[in-house]
Symmetry: C2
Subunit: 227 residues, 2 copies
């Protein structure tokens, strides 16, 4: 499906395409921040963590700019049907992307404060797996949006319950570590907050995919509603 | 300022007013859930906790319904200027309200699992204060939206840094409790998650107030942007 179909005005087409490209560009930046944040957590790459905090303003500025673009298109073009759904999805998706930016910043902050050698901990493998799967979900969600791929989007939505289970297992393990390892309570708590943020990124990726389904089919599949 | 000014079509006025009333109604329900959740946490009112989990679907259904209403108004009315800003704000605000509903559900769940007598803990006073201030922020944010009260909205936005500081203090206290009280680690962790959720509600209340400023003045004050 191509959002450029069916318009008489080339200028209008260009405006919609511009919005779409802006979302993908914001998505790319946010993806980079999230990967960088998990790298700084898992590999101790502190420079990456510092860059994320320094550059979060770019994510915020993109959110404001894209929202403004949506307002302009609505005011001047009176979008209907799939065009309106596209603009509506953009308005919602940028909120999710901005929050992924926030979660990345939180992870980066905690990662740069950690004193433990995370690679030698009992929870390293679980944390790495959680991060890998959340990165995969986010990356897939952005691909689904780029290609309006509904089948893939539906699969990504389903992946979220696996991520939730992985997070629950990891949280249990971290709680046991807290009980056993009294010396590193503060660090383990920071890892818990990071794990929580990673799990939240999965939720936002799921939201993005639900908007992809909405754009293509017009039905709102949020909150388990398949009608 | 009154959103009913300046339209020729009474029907269009009614549609915009209807959206506004729906947001206030969803806000009222979410406020009730959040108050109930903090009551169940602080007073052990488990029945309230159960009701919140049972009724979260209503919050979700309202979000979907209001979004649909916004789509219809955009498609049929081509809103401009303050009307468009109103619709835009509705689309954003319902997302914040839905997430407050989610946070309330999380608090209620943890509250119903607690084994400790929270009133006898060292962190009870701090937790109670945090909850009281977050409830106050949410309630004020909804009043600001109802009356389009920009002055008050600006004050509520400023209140968020106080709430953040209170959360940081409480978190420090809870961390110390974790170190001292090894018997109740799981419960203290649950209270930490609840405190985090309460602090997040403050963030959402702040977002709502920033949209109130945007509706009234047309400038986007998110992310500390005062232009």
């Amino acid at each position: 499906m191509n959002i450029q179909q069916g318009h008489i005005s080339k200028e209008y087409n260009d405006e919609l395409e511009q919005l779409r490209l802006q979302v993908l560009s914001m998505g790319g930046l946010v993806e980079e921040h999230f990967k960088g944040a998990t790298d700084s957590l898992l590999k101790g790459e502190i420079v990456k963590a510092q860059n994320i905090s320094k550059n979060d303003f770019k994510v915020n500025a993109m959110e404001v700019e894209i929202d403004e673009g949506c307002s302009n298109v609505i005011a001047r073009r009176q979008p209907a049907a799939i065009d309106l759904r596209n603009v509506f999805a953009v308005i919602k998706i940028v909120t999710d992307l901005e929050r992924i930016g926030d979660e990345s910043q939180k992870i980066a902050k905690f990662a740069s404060e950690l004193k433990i050698n995370i690679k030698t901990t009992k929870f390293y493998t679980g944390l790495k797996k959680l991060a890998k799967n959340a990165i995969n979900m986010l990356s897939s969600a952005l691909n689904c949006y780029a290609r309006l791929d509904v089948d893939k989007a539906t699969k990504v939505v389903q992946m979220d319950s696996t991520l939730d289970n992985e997070f629950a297992d990891l949280n249990l393990l971290l709680t046991n570590c807290l009980i056993e390892d009294k010396k590193n309570i503060e660090d383990i708590l920071k890892v818990m907050w990071c794990a929580r943020s990673i799990e939240r990124v999965g939720d936002h990726a799921k939201n993005i995919c639900q908007y992809v389904v909405y754009v293509a089919h017009g039905n709102d599949v949020r909150h388990g509603n398949s009608e």
